[in-house]
């Protein structure tokens, strides 16, 4: 049985955990002090040695990303933190920032030192008023204490409801004051990012993981996790489970283990399908309960670790309804820049709506897959690929359920049975 390993979440149960006082009481801002006394390249090497990989979905090695920033180029460098957490099912960065905004600020100070940047921007999604308050106050308090403003400035930038801004180049366009649409790469942000200057874009959890690595060393971090997926990370369990929540554990833990901790699937029901890392990662079923949840394990089983957003659905859930809803989301959030995604997601929704209503034919399933084939790998950014994941994976595992809608001329499921308040008289 894998043991939980709270590092990021270690002090979240202290009532004032979000304050500077609480953060410093628990050793906060000692890591930045230590890092600032080190050579920037030594800090980069330390993060490389730790094996930390990006926690925003792609899993790119964080230290390597930092190492791509050209040095001695006499240009301004920027750190941009992606706090636009919007991938359906993903709910780790927002509670982290609500409970402990200072760990992100300390991570920013260390990262800025490493990449020789004076400016960090935190791009947070706009639909979280109280978390904006907490982060803003933490930044203000850090300035007042002289922690910020002595070489590093942190600016909080609040988004306004566009999922695509979680894509790093769309985020940069948005931060520059444009519509958030992705940019062609190359040039990569490390060469020409914010204001066409060398820029590192990292997820909240990645940057927040850095202070503990600096304090405890690369070996300590390496001692957790699996061969190529090191460290501890936040797994977010939601859906038809007895106790949903955040579980910080070493990479490589399995859903079976996490479900056991959570009291299992809700009473009287069984697991039907789940996402390992948000809606953009291909669905898994009860056949995947023992897949090690690390970057390699999940990929080998045909999906992606993504944001470690474990959304659990039991047998009362109609997979066609679930997939239609995700597809409507992608259609709504498509930025419109490229044709395969803009037009493709629109057509996907039309066909899925018919299928859910039992109005389609079996040929529509082939058409869906054909459309997905023309979106996957042919869109401007990874958004299009993500939009196809729930469709292709659900047809792979639940083709019969799509057919059942056609035979029955409608959805065979009762949506009330899937709600949490079924039987509660609501």
């Amino acid at each position: 049985m894998t043991k939980l390993a709270p590092v990021l979440s270690a002090y979240w149960d202290e009532k004032d955990s979000f304050t500077l006082t609480a953060y410093q009481r628990n050793g906060g801002y000692k890591a930045s002090e230590k890092a600032l006394a080190m050579e920037p390249d030594t800090v980069i090497q330390l993060v490389k040695d730790s094996g930390l990989r990006g926690r925003g979905g792609a899993g790119f090695p964080t230290g390597m990303k930092w190492g791509f920033i050209p040095q001695g180029d006499n240009k301004d460098h920027y750190l941009v933190v992606n706090a636009d957490e919007s991938e359906p099912g993903t709910c780790k960065d927002m509670p982290l920032l609500m409970a402990n905004p200072h760990v992100l600020i300390e991570g920013c100070i260390i990262a800025c030192h490493a990449i020789r940047a004076k400016h960090a921007f935190i791009y947070i999604r706009g639909e979280v008023t109280h978390i904006v308050r907490r982060l803003n106050q933490a930044i203000t308090d850090a300035y007042a204490a002289g922690i910020l403003g002595n070489g590093v400035d942190v600016v909080l930038h609040v988004g306004a409801g566009a999922y695509i801004c979680g894509e790093e180049t769309a985020l940069l366009d948005s931060l520059e004051g444009f519509r958030g649409q992705p940019r062609l790469r190359p040039p990569f942000p490390a060469i020409a990012g914010l204001y066409a200057r060398p820029t590192v874009v990292n997820n909240v959890e990645s940057i927040a993981s850095v202070p503990a690595i600096v304090m405890n060393g690369a070996d300590w971090y390496q001692s957790m996790g699996t061969e190529k997926s090191k460290g501890t990370t936040l797994f977010s369990l939601s859906g038809h489970v007895v106790n949903p929540g955040q579980f910080e554990a070493p990479l490589g833990i399995t859903l079976r283990e996490i479900l056991e901790l959570a009291g299992g699937v809700r009473a009287g029901h069984k697991l039907k399908f789940w996402t390992p890392g948000g809606s953009s990662t291909p669905l898994f079923t009860d056949a995947h309960l023992d897949v090690p949840l690390d970057y390699e394990g999940v990929a080998a089983a045909g999906s992606m670790l993504g944001t470690k957003a474990l959304q659990i659905f039991d047998e009362t859930t109609c997979v066609v309804r679930a997939v239609l809803r995700w597809t409507e989301f992608y259609k709504h959030e498509s930025c419109g820049k490229c044709t395969p995604c803009r037009e493709g997601t629109w057509w996907l929704v039309q066909i899925l709506r018919d299928l859910e209503a039992g109005k389609g034919t079996e040929a529509d399933l082939a058409k869906l897959l054909d459309l997905c084939d023309n979106i996957l790998g042919r869109s401007f950014c990874a958004f299009g690929d993500g939009a196809t994941s729930p469709i292709t994976s659900s047809i792979k595992y639940f083709r019969d359920e799509y057919i059942a809608h056609l035979i029955q001329g409608g959805c065979p499921f009762d949506p009330v049975a899937a709600t949490l308040f079924v039987g509660a008289g609501a």
Partner: protein, 208 residues
């Protein structure tokens, strides 16, 4: 309404946060909403003027993002998550019942101007599903009944406080000011975390 000298000073301070002025468009649009309730033509033109842009350039940005409203919303803007997970767990039922209860459709506003309703996408609180937001504050673990009680409390002028948020629900305009980066002094209020957030930590302390 006209923007005051003080408003212009605030807008200037927002611009000064950034190395390049254009980056301030988004907080400036949030600020306009904090004053006018939505993005008015006057607000667009003012932003264009102070950033030395064409009004069309500011409009292009404003219309891209769903949080910028082109028409007034209620004093309390309610969003019901109907992305897959929340929808399945009860979000669809909550949204349908609120439309019926308030006698408005998606994006509608009650005749008293108190409540507006919108179905929203995933709001990063899935372990608290079904989730309802009001002025982008969290109302966790909602049911059809609790959501109706919530909007009723808004219409009565005494909105229930958020589950994870300040001790009182601020108005749409006040919340917009927070999103523009202005400090309303309420950051210390409310819990640091809800139970699901702390579950793994609690189990770990119990030896798991």
């Amino acid at each position: 309404m006209a923007f005051s000298t003080e408003d212009l000073q605030i807008m200037d301070s927002i611009i000064k946060r950034y190395p390049r002025p254009r980056s301030a468009i988004m907080p400036l649009l949030h600020f306009v909403q904090s004053k006018e309730g939505y993005v008015t033509n006057e607000g667009i033109e003012l932003i264009a003027e102070i950033l030395e842009l064409a009004a069309a350039e500011v409009t292009a940005v404003s219309t891209f993002y769903t949080q910028y409203k082109s028409a007034p919303v209620g004093e309390y803007h309610v969003g019901v998550c109907t992305n897959t997970l929340c929808a399945v767990m009860g979000g669809d039922a909550i949204f349908a019942s609120l439309k019926e209860h308030l006698e408005i459709e998606n994006d509608g506003v009650t005749t008293d101007g108190k409540v507006s309703l919108e179905h929203i996408e995933c709001n990063a609180a899935c372990d608290y599903a079904p989730v309802v937001m009001a002025n982008w504050e969290f109302y966790d673990n909602q049911t059809v009944e609790s959501a109706k009680e919530l909007v009723d409390s808004m219409r009565a002028g005494k909105p229930k406080p958020p589950t994870r948020g300040p001790n009182r629900l601020v108005s749409w305009k006040e919340a917009s000011a927070v999103l523009a980066g202005l400090n309303d002094g309420l950051a210390h209020e409310g819990v640091q975390a809800g139970e699901p957030t702390l579950l793994g930590l609690k189990l770990s302390k119990a030896g798991k």
